[in-house]
């Protein structure tokens, strides 16, 4: 009996499965990705946001403080330096799409051996930011660095930008601009290769000069690329951490602090988890504003 009913039930299961597999397959395929993404990305965002309303040393009990952490941020000069540096970072990173476009225009030629040359131009993007940071920290080092001997040959005096409160942040951002420009260059090169040649050729036959062409034919076609490039730059400007950690550790006197690094410091050096979460929440808010702005522009353009 049992022997007879087992295949019967299994065939009814498989019949049931066969009827429902079109609905069940996507669920099964999605489950692992959604689960892992929820556990490590989505839920932690919520946990961080709620933690920002508490005082916590990472071990003991949490104390509810409402918006106390945020109120304290408003009186914290280091927070404002970090915020200002993040905004400066963002602003300067927006030069990367422009520089990347110039580089792409320069490299968009079909001459022999251009492929490996383009690849070499992308190199700074491929290596780790740790390596970029080490290279630049040493490049700018006043005693052993490569910059001062180079300046001396040009008859310019020795400089120590990383030890200067005013210049240090610009030096750190400049180091980041290098790989960022390389990235934008690749985006634009792909955009330029994919452009419709007949539009350009016909404009040329009409006697359009190159700079008119660039402005009225090429750039409008490249707009989606510019959009992506700008967004990528904003995202990485707000995430900036590695270069600060490697090159200056936030110094001198917090002049190169950024929100991500200040949050890290508050967590592991001051053990103020709640305050750190509040800093992270501000960072998240900034990102949300930028994404909303991008989406608004995207929708506005699609509507016309």
């Amino acid at each position: 009996m049992t022997g007879a009913s087992a295949p019967g039930s299994s065939s009814s299961i498989s019949a049931w499965w066969w009827r429902h597999q079109r609905t069940l397959t996507p669920l099964i395929l999605l489950a692992p990705a959604c689960l892992l993404f929820a556990i490590f990305v989505i839920i932690p965002i919520g946990m961080s946001l709620s933690l920002s309303l508490y005082d916590w040393d990472g071990v003991g009990p949490k104390t509810w403080v409402g918006f106390g952490n945020f109120a304290e941020l408003f009186g914290d000069p280091v927070f404002f330096t970090a915020l200002k540096n993040n905004l400066l970072w963002l602003l300067i990173y927006l030069a990367a799409p422009m520089l990347g476009l110039l580089l792409a225009l320069f490299l968009n030629q079909g001459v022999r051996g251009i492929r490996p040359i383009r690849a070499l131009f992308l190199m700074p993007f491929v290596v780790s930011q740790v390596v970029i940071g080490l290279i630049f920290a040493w490049f700018l080092n006043p005693e052993f660095g490569l910059l001062n001997p180079l300046l001396a040959k040009l008859g310019l005096g020795p400089v120590a930008p990383l030890e200067n409160e005013r210049w240090a942040i610009l030096a750190v951002i400049a180091a980041g601009l290098w790989p960022q420009t390389a990235y934008c260059m690749v985006l634009y090169l792909t955009g330029l290769t994919g452009m419709r040649p007949e539009l350009i050729e016909s404009a040329r036959l009409d006697g359009a000069r190159d700079h008119t062409l660039l402005w009225h034919v090429v750039l409008p076609q490249l707009r989606p690329v510019t959009f992506i490039a700008a967004m990528v730059c904003v995202v990485s400007a707000l995430r900036s951490f590695d270069l600060v950690m490697i090159m200056t550790a936030g110094g001198p006197y917090n002049s190169t602090n950024v929100l991500a690094y200040y949050m890290y410091e508050q967590t592991f050096l001051s053990l103020r988890y709640g305050y750190a979460a509040a800093i992270a929440a501000v960072l998240f808010g900034l990102m949300a504003c930028c994404v909303a702005f991008f989406l608004w522009r995207l929708l506005a353009r699609e509507r016309g």
Binding site: T25, P26, L29, L30, A33, L36, F37, I39, F40, I42, P44, M47, S48, L51, F106, L107, Q109, V111, I114, R115, I117, L120, F121, M123, P124, V126, V127, S128, Q129, V130, I135, W138, F139, N141, E143, L146, P149, V186, L187, T190, T193, G194, P197, L214, V218, P224, I228, R239, M245, I246, L259, M263, Y264, T267, A277, A280, L283, F284, L286, M287
Partner: protein, 283 residues
């Protein structure tokens, strides 16, 4: 083609263009060339201030041997491999499955899920630091390779899913319907039709994700702390305290750290760039 192809220009212009190419490339890579050169110098050169001149002696073998013999560099490299490879494999596998589901099935919340995957990938990931670190402590994987493998696999799944979904969406529906009429189940379609066709996309996304995970520094700092499991990026920075002003060793270490992603990049250049520019409409 824009700008005007240089082949149409006179000979002198073409010659100038080629010269400009090489000069600009040299300037662009000057910092890297400086590091490469320094990694084969002796400490005497550094002390004497011979930073740009020809090295007084070549110590390629000595310096690179010192990096591996006096430090745990080999262990760091092994750790990076043992973290990066499973993380990439996991993210790509999950993304293929999720990408197929999102691209070829209609169900409620499909678009919402897709948007969540994209948005989750855009967040400044530092906001995840405290909860994720606590989570790894609670489930007992803090300071193990698993902490980094699981986190990277999860986080990269967002971008990989976006990529795979867009690629799979371009596969013609007629083809899948024909397979269905032949009696193939959805899983068989995924396994025998979709996966073989998306191989180029898998290569692109794997090459790119490998670079991202290999180059990660933040999470290596937050989720592990002992040298036994620490990957190369965090290891290199920790060696700086030991090497102080031995910039020839720091340079050699940096070169070692940079080699794997650079190799991946050069061997899989087309795939890598295809992955990098996947958001742009022209591919």
């Amino acid at each position: 083609m824009f700008p005007t192809p240089i082949e149409r220009a006179p000979r002198a212009t073409r010659f100038t263009y080629r010269a400009a190419l090489y000069v600009s490339l040299a300037v662009w890579l000057l910092p890297m060339a400086g590091v490469a050169l320094t990694s084969v110098r002796s400490i005497d050169d550094l002390n004497r201030g011979n930073l740009w001149g020809w090295p007084s002696e070549f110590r390629l073998v000595e310096n690179y041997t010192a990096v591996f013999a006096d430090t745990r560099m080999a262990q760091f490299i092994l750790n990076s491999v043992l973290i990066t490879v499973p993380a990439v494999a996991g993210a790509v596998a999950l993304a293929c499955m999720a990408g197929f589901a999102l691209a070829k099935f209609r169900f409620r919340g499909n678009l919402a899920l897709f948007v969540i995957f994209i948005a989750g990938n855009l967040v400044p990931f530092q906001i995840l630091m405290i909860p994720v670190r606590n989570l790894t402590i609670e489930i007992g994987i803090y300071d193990t390779r698993w902490a980094l493998i699981l986190f990277h696999a999860a986080f990269q799944t967002g971008f990989c899913t976006l990529f795979m979904r867009n690629f799979i969406k371009q596969l013609p529906d007629d083809m899948l319907d024909a397979a269905r009429n032949d009696g193939l189940s959805e899983f068989q379609i995924f396994r025998h039709i979709v996966l073989p066709l998306v191989r180029p996309a898998i290569a692109a996304i794997a090459a790119l994700t490998f670079t991202f995970v290999w180059n990660d520094y933040f999470w290596s700092l937050v989720l592990v702390q002992s040298d036994d499991v620490r990957p190369l990026t965090a290891g290199l920075q920790s060696l700086r305290g030991m090497w102080l002003a031995s910039w020839h060793l720091i340079s050699a270490g940096s070169i070692v750290a940079a080699i794997p992603p650079v190799l991946i990049f050069f061997f899989m250049q087309q795939h890598f760039i295809a992955g990098l520019t996947s958001g742009t409409p022209n591919d």
